[in-house]
């Protein structure tokens, strides 16, 4: 398993060099978006309006942070479950987004779109919101402020820790990791 330290934007070569199971630490600018923001971004694109950020080499983080306490850049900020964005993710990847960060399984359309567009799906540790917030230095709302926690935020991150789940070559760390630890007589085999 390799370790990558990447600064945004992510180049196509950098994205393709990441393999499932690799540790990926991201520094620079990433953008937050969850269900409601994805719905609006895709509607914007369909109406011919630009995305709220330049998608070339961009990284999207599926997160809805808690409100910051005085003195904090951002409140707790761990990943949300990714499959809810599956409907929108292929569109975002076609726009040039090179990495998305969340947690949980992705559907076949997303996995295929990662391969077609040379992008990666990364996971951060779910439920470690206080710890992950320490890697976020700055947060500012840049679009859809009315969505509250679901607004699009520009985050400045330093060595934000993730692990690659699905790479641009069809690799799948959930499948491989679970196949390694499943017992022979388990009632259900890893998917």
């Amino acid at each position: 398993m390799a370790r990558h330290y990447l600064t945004t934007p992510i180049t196509p070569e950098q994205a393709r060099a990441i393999r499932s199971g690799d540790e990926v630490y991201i520094t620079g600018t990433i953008y937050t978006a969850r269900d409601a923001a994805h719905k609006r971004m895709v509607e914007d694109l369909e109406a011919g309006r630009p995305l709220p950020f330049n998608p070339q080499g961009a990284v999207i983080y599926y997160v809805g942070p808690t409100p910051p306490k005085p003195g904090q850049a951002v409140g707790s900020a761990g990943p949300t479950t990714s499959y809810r964005m599956d409907k929108y993710t292929p569109t975002m990847l076609r726009q040039g987004v090179k990495a998305v960060i969340g947690k949980g399984y992705r559907g076949p359309d997303v996995k295929a779109a990662l391969v077609e567009n040379g992008a990666v799906y990364l996971a951060a540790t779910g439920g470690a919101g206080a710890l992950l917030a320490k890697r976020i230095e700055k947060a500012e709302v840049i679009a859809y402020a009315d969505l509250g926690t679901e607004a699009v935020r520009r985050l400045t991150v330093k060595d934000f820790p993730t692990i690659c789940i699905n790479d641009a070559h069809g690799g799948d760390q959930y499948r491989d990791g679970q196949l390694q630890w499943v017992e022979p007589d388990a009632m259900v085999k890893p998917r």
């Binding site: 409140g75 996971a123 919101g129 679970q178 009632m187």
Partner: protein, 281 residues
């Protein structure tokens, strides 16, 4: 002499419980996660469990939420039938307590007014309130702040009685396997068996109120809980689904009577950040 309790005291208790639950892991959950660190053999699973311990320590020392999904405020009341509540509407006081706790505690507001119009209510109300009337003159309040990711992976099935324990067991293990990394394992698995369509779901939820790992008082059901935990931990899902031995911390089953045609089974999935508090007033 009937005992009186002012509803403002209930609002105060609820406000502090929703904050405290989100900042500090309860001892039962902390102990279960510590045991998981000893039992886990997968290096990546170990690494996740170490991160969760660091996260819990940080959340407590800085008084910030351990998880950004600070949940749906679930409030379970056992109201003594001899208790007289004064000073206003009980449910309104609970909603007020939740609103204040989420505001003052810098917790995330995750509740929408309508499932399709989807406008945020802005203060995490309404709380979801469950009320039982019991003997005595006390008020027992249990609060769970439950995240959406795990709740979404929950399932209910009306099995035919012929399916028996084997069918129920298979359905429960398949539900946990399908939840995988989506629900933030290692999980606490709440199971309801019996009742009817709605009662079985409530049984599964109430099973989560039991201290983590405390067995069912009936030895036969306690053995089934252990059997399920063993089967679930054979799946290889592991911490955050990255592969490992500890997929669940505990399985709790609650049961009740049911109709001759029925074998209802519900599985309420809870993440490792199992946030719960209780108080007796």
């Amino acid at each position: 002499m009937v005992r009186e309790l002012h509803v403002d005291k209930i609002a105060d208790a609820v406000a502090s419980m929703v904050m405290e639950a989100n900042y500090t892991l309860e001892p039962d959950v902390a102990a279960a996660l510590e045991k998981a660190r000893k039992d886990e053999r997968s290096p990546v699973g170990q690494a996740v469990l170490v991160q969760l311990a660091e996260n819990a320590e940080l959340a407590q020392s800085e008084q910030v939420p351990m998880c950004q999904d600070t949940g749906n405020a679930l409030v379970f009341l056992e109201v003594g039938q001899d208790l007289h509540l004064v000073g206003g509407d009980l449910y309104e006081a609970i909603h007020r307590g939740v609103a204040r706790g989420y505001q003052e505690g810098y917790l995330r507001k995750s509740i929408l007014d309508d499932p399709l119009r989807r406008k945020n209510t802005g203060d995490n109300t309404p709380a979801f309130i469950y009320t039982d009337i019991v003997p005595g003159d006390k008020l027992h309040i249990r609060v769970m702040t439950k995240g959406g990711g795990a709740e979404n992976m929950s399932q209910l099935r009306m099995l035919p009685p012929s399916a028996g324990w084997e069918g129920a067991r298979r359905f429960i293990v398949e539900t946990v396997a399908a939840a995988g990394p989506n629900a933030c394992p290692p999980l606490v698995v709440g199971v309801g068996i019996g009742g009817n369509f709605d009662k079985v779901a409530l049984l599964a939820k109430k099973a989560l109120l039991r201290p983590v790992g405390r067995p069912h008082p009936d030895p036969e059901w306690a053995a089934r809980e252990q059997e399920l935990l063993t089967e679930i931990n054979k799946l290889g899902v592991g911490p955050m689904g990255l592969g490992g031995k500890v997929t669940a911390l505990a399985v709790h089953i609650e049961t009740m009577a049911c109709h001759i045609t029925a074998l209802p089974v519900a599985v309420n999935i809870e993440c490792h950040a199992h946030r719960h508090k209780e108080v007796v007033l």
